[in-house]
Symmetry: C2
Subunit: 677 residues, 2 copies
Amino acid sequence: MATSDRGSSIIPKTVNPDIQEERNAATFNVEDFALWWHGGEENLKRKRYVESSVFADIDENKTVASIQSLSHDEIYAAAMEDALALAGKLRKLQKELNPGGKDIWPGLFSGPELWGAMPGGNPFTVHFSMLVDAIRNQGTDEQFEKFGKRAENLEICAAFAQTELGHGTFLRGLQTRADFDSKTDEFVLNTPTITAYKFWPGGLGHSANYSLVMANLYIDNKPKGVAMFMVPIRDEETHMPLPGIDIGDVGKKLGFYGVNNGYLGMKNVRIPRTNMLMRHAQVEADGTFIQSPAAALGYFSMVFGRCWISANNTTMLAIAATIATRYSAVRRQGSINPKQPEVKIMDYVTQQMKLFPEIATCIADRLAALKLRQLYHQTERDIKKGKYDGLGEIHALSCAMKVMCTSDSAAGIERLRLACGGHGYLASSNLSNLYSTATAGCTYEGENTVLLLQVGRFLMKSAQQVMAGKPLAPTASYLAKIKMDQWSGSWENIVEALECATANKTHQALKNIAARMEAGQTQGEAANNTGIELTQAAELYGRSFIAANFLQEVTGINAKTRSPALNKVLENILELYLVKAALDNMNNIFRIVKITDEDVNSLQASLEKSLKSMRPNAVAICDGFDFPDRNLLSTLGCFDGNVYERIFEEAKNCSLNKEPVPRVFHTHLKPFMKSKM
Amino acid sequence: MATSDRGSSIIPKTVNPDIQEERNAATFNVEDFALWWHGGEENLKRKRYVESSVFADIDENKTVASIQSLSHDEIYAAAMEDALALAGKLRKLQKELNPGGKDIWPGLFSGPELWGAMPGGNPFTVHFSMLVDAIRNQGTDEQFEKFGKRAENLEICAAFAQTELGHGTFLRGLQTRADFDSKTDEFVLNTPTITAYKFWPGGLGHSANYSLVMANLYIDNKPKGVAMFMVPIRDEETHMPLPGIDIGDVGKKLGFYGVNNGYLGMKNVRIPRTNMLMRHAQVEADGTFIQSPAAALGYFSMVFGRCWISANNTTMLAIAATIATRYSAVRRQGSINPKQPEVKIMDYVTQQMKLFPEIATCIADRLAALKLRQLYHQTERDIKKGKYDGLGEIHALSCAMKVMCTSDSAAGIERLRLACGGHGYLASSNLSNLYSTATAGCTYEGENTVLLLQVGRFLMKSAQQVMAGKPLAPTASYLAKIKMDQWSGSWENIVEALECATANKTHQALKNIAARMEAGQTQGEAANNTGIELTQAAELYGRSFIAANFLQEVTGINAKTRSPALNKVLENILELYLVKAALDNMNNIFRIVKITDEDVNSLQASLEKSLKSMRPNAVAICDGFDFPDRNLLSTLGCFDGNVYERIFEEAKNCSLNKEPVPRVFHTHLKPFMKSKM
């Protein structure tokens, strides 16, 4: 990695003995963990090669704190420059390592794996994470040839414009309309009111020259439902907004500083008929409308988006866990036995309780996200064969997983930030940046509560299938069992309890909906009034999936591919995850099985025991995630543990410190202090 | 309020009918609520007069989004200018309304009540919230005359420098030292290492010319404990750092952008002996050290700080609740009955569940914070009479309240931000700004977990008093009762259950500590290993205090001073608060009393019923908090409900939108897109 060119750095070249001591004490081989986590030797090797290539000549002065100290305009320019520099590097690496493939370029451009190259964010994230895929899945092959390939190669840049100022998740409510004009064989696009303006799409403000616009299709003024339209919005040569286009940046946000989220108004913007994506539904030249064979197909791009978000958010949590865990091995504060030296804060059980469950959660969530991706690809293959019956389940599961992974990671990162005390509040810790990115995932691509209610609907349908004696989707196969025979506290027993609690809550919700309908409420009203229990059931469904999958990965056939020492560590992490899940959900579990006071005490003892066992391995586990320092972007989390020097150096470099006395002292402060009013 | 000078505003001058409809439907008189909330007619009238005076000529272009779009340096300058402008206004108002008093200047300068005047933050917050008070309480009367009065009048500006780069809450660990030199009658101050540098004090970077420095006092190289020293750090005329002083800003943070948190290194900095604050401990000219009569007195300033933080954080939560509730009355999204018009999102029970419990929490926490302040003043009076025995309880209670109010408000604001969907992510919503401010309270003035462990120690002592048959402090008087006879679900019964759960958890923790010591652990080790249960007990103690106090305020003698309609609303809010607290703590409650499935269902039904009752009054309750628009600083929360126009206008005004094509298009984006690599 390039050395800092900030002049005489005070950062030691040696590893802090406090963190070295941790590594020496680990009970397993870190490389074994990294190999498992990254899916084998070839993947890990390539990952490291890509990282070292990308980060080799990175400008170390571009830190999170230095970028965030710039003005909004400057941050955008920096983000654009950095993103394009990375794009260039990845294109080269793709040619070098796997010519013709897409795994590196654009495969690695949008995810968090190389964020270290773009501390201001990436204005092209949506372009690559959703747009290209949407053209591929919703457009015909010819359309992909025409638009998709250019987009994939970044010859054009397109935003994905669905959300409007007044309309989010509820697609049917979109006000943007596309009227078919059969005379000219064109669509005419309009955003008739302020609330119809597209608002929020990433990169839309000043980066994109095209936008894929989600609009209500009208033929002869009759609504035909929502469709997608490829709309040129800026001149490809001059980048000036095209006629009828009103466009700009939405302004400063909690995070995503350089991502250039934008707004878009359209007034009689005309595009050729063939710019509507027509893989599923079609409009013919004479105005004939051909319905999509399965309405749900239109939503399938979103399933992919949710898989992608789920996996990415677990990476963010892993980054934060690495930062906070390493910091906790170096930070000393207070003593456990009076008059003895100050201890590492990681020696406090309360601190362990902040760190280790997050490590466990990011592993459990990650494994479930990978499983979800497998199921997505399976469904994709099924669809190609004309088999659509798995769509309902993958939709529900991807909703649940998106909710769990985003809310777990956001809450977890925030707990980890707080676990770093004041220094976690510094931009230079990168923890607030990670948080603002992770929490955005709770809202975009389907607001989490809305998604939970959709999962709730899937559960209601499934519960009705139970009562009708019909077969259940695999991930809901346990729904028939609403009481448990016995509590033992074993791993299998805890997973069963979570599943049973899901079933019980589902059953309860169904019963309450039925009772409300009986009392005269419509189905919609009854479901709304049962919303709290429905969302609780949906969350339990997600948690059950994650827990069962984690149990399977650790204790199932894959265990044979790992060393006994690594398996022991994973079992420890699994134990912590399950015991904590049981305690967290005790308010539901005690309703489905008899739980004694002794049972709870025993869970608490297991919790404390698993924290204790994990203590010597915590730093090594995070080392096993294998993040290079540059991708952590944190003064607190570096491998060498030289935390204080980095914080101090970053502070010294703050732009405000260039002059000893700020101008505002002379213009305002001194006159005030001398005024003696 | 001044009209916007942003050219032709698109914001209607009328009230959005969707929000007007809410006001028409309220079952109580908003003014009654406002009078109660603000403590009577005189207070409310004066509050409104001060607000309208302060905000009359405010620059409406200085919004949260516009300020946050500036560079770090520019934000600091803006914050300084705005803070001094406010200071000038308040000094004038003080003379006008109550000459010689301090209730307006500096009384209203640092709290959130007038934040609308300082969207970039206030670099003088700590100066007024802690520093002046610390000089008053820790300094002699002469010292207050010499330093305190000048500080109070902002003739000098001083930081409160306790935290070091390597040391936070653990005071004894501070590395900064002050050695007494009897030859010159001076102290010599040093920060011997990087980790000894003072780090974090607000206003220290470039604003303060003095600093109250917490350091370990040495006489003849013998440690005498921690003391406070008034240290000049910048020349009063030139503002240049004085010899031996190394000072600067710590750089960009999650929030507090303009607050100028700084670092301070000292090398052989000499100050007169009389600059040590000597109300309690003293150093005489010959080097004789006189111990403080009660060690705990040194911490009493911190109790005041915690009272202040507790109350302020409830105000932040009330601001956020007002913003999100008003937005939810205007935002329409989706429908409850298919094919019917889109409904207000506040009609979704899941949305009510995000909003109303936060309204209830900010009211409950606020009332408890006011009660805490009363108890603080009582203790202050006792101390003056030489009566120190209430110190232990006020210390514990203020710790618990600081934890509850900061964590409740931070979590609550974040839930409210998420309840506003994507628009809550805009800086212009002000919700992220409120969050970053509220969450900082979880760390400063005693990190929350550290404080909970101190409360835990108080509870352990109290439990031992129970066993010894000794009397208990009033707020812990219930600790003897660890099981409940019967669950009824009444308000009193729920409060009793929370108290009993506190007692049970306390008892459990004490038992586990004893068992661990029996097994050979030291007391420190045993307490550390019982840390999870200790912090849980401490949180329950805080929650019990808040719940009991809320019950007392609503149903006790004060009810007679309020109208029946207002009392009914408050009872509704109380019911929601208690029922939710019972459900949230069910994992503890089912251990102390028999709870049937029917009991839980009945609580769930009460929860849903109380949300439903609160639905028509939610906007009116928030109106009753009586925040002027300018203090909400939010595009989402204005009284008139014209949300979309405000969001849109704020976006249009974003600095990035001044030019249609950014420079970076020509320098980077176009060359890349055309490169056809």
